[in-house]
Symmetry: C2
Subunit: 256 residues, 2 copies
Amino acid sequence: MNDQPARRNIKLVIAYNGAAYHGWQRQREPLDTIQQRIEQTAVTVMKHPVAVRGAGRTDAGVHAAGQVANFYSTNFSVPLFGLRRAMNSRLPNDIAVISAEHVPESFHASLSAIGKTYRYRIWPSPAKPVELAGQVYHYWRTLDAEAMRLGAVRLIGTHDFRGFATSGEQRENTVRTIFRCDVAEQGGQIVVTVQGDGFLYNMVRNIVGTLVEIGRGRWAPSRIDRVLATRDRRDAGPTAPPDGLSMICVHYPDPL
Amino acid sequence: MNDQPARRNIKLVIAYNGAAYHGWQRQREPLDTIQQRIEQTAVTVMKHPVAVRGAGRTDAGVHAAGQVANFYSTNFSVPLFGLRRAMNSRLPNDIAVISAEHVPESFHASLSAIGKTYRYRIWPSPAKPVELAGQVYHYWRTLDAEAMRLGAVRLIGTHDFRGFATSGEQRENTVRTIFRCDVAEQGGQIVVTVQGDGFLYNMVRNIVGTLVEIGRGRWAPSRIDRVLATRDRRDAGPTAPPDGLSMICVHYPDPL
């Protein structure tokens, strides 16, 4: 009897600067995506076909510090440390594998997730942040971070977030739970951190776009309550650009 | 009699993230360069043809915090503050005009310069710096910054730097004066700062490439003396990638 499983399930934590890519999700050639880069690199290292599943489909220009993906491999000859190193040396400078580990057969990067944390960075100043181009939302005027914070805390809890979803959101159930929604000032930037059990299409960028309208004084913080009540996208602010957004962490049950 | 001069000479200080551009210097379309972007924007704002001269031709992928350019304009209706603002709102996120000022008719961004300061940033770690992709030289191993510093100080002074010029350097006189050459550790990065009265083609990148060989232990700091003595490019290290390099400052006589 051979007790060795026929394949192993490998979980990757991945960081990337998404400025040069057409998002996470595989697209038709010649559109360059993170998923294709990760898959192609895994195929090269493992020497067999690989299908990489990601925890979330970040849009074009969106970044990640802790995207998660998994794939199955029948190649047992490559140790995890060697896998990470081999992938990193083959991936471009703006994509990195932070860690690689064995996980149970049932682990699925997207379906097993119980939550995600996103960070959104705003540069509120007339001075253009060329060193951070593509990594922050450059807003030309100053913003009232305290007003934004007062709006942000109103999002915490279980609500129907349909008003913060870009039309095209296909999911029937638009109720989500936000555990955390902070607004902090850090080194001249305004950083919005949102943790929730799930997010609708463009939800973080629409939340940020609404908080910016509050921060520039167009709306009071209570505007958040109105969007949650009417569930009407037209009551929320514009979709903030992808540049400032990064998927920081994907949360899973412990133990898996 | 009309005493108003027929034109004014305008000096711009410019910052850019060069990752997306084919360098400073104008190229044939469709190659996108900083000079073309600045010129096209100045033409749009000033409403007449403009020829922008830069202080130095940064290569593809090289950045600037203080590139200098000048151009002549017969349009006296645009105030300098309005010029800067109008250009910044039209330029892409990764190019910014830091300042615009009137300078004497004789000022020439390149010919009037008496020196330049460059900074080169190295990320010496097995961890890939995806947030800084394109802005630092990722070196996979640790480096001995003190050995690099001991090499760097040997460059200070007036020397023939031919050994640090990439072949293709056209200038007959390869003697330059380096006023400052520092190696500092900052937040996990190694930052090399070089100030001189002029630089040969790829000179900073070849100096850094040589210092990295010293930092990784292949050569002693005295290797610098050998390159200065033999003036042989083959004695120096490889050309460091453009990513880490930024033109920080161009120096002019005071007053102009």
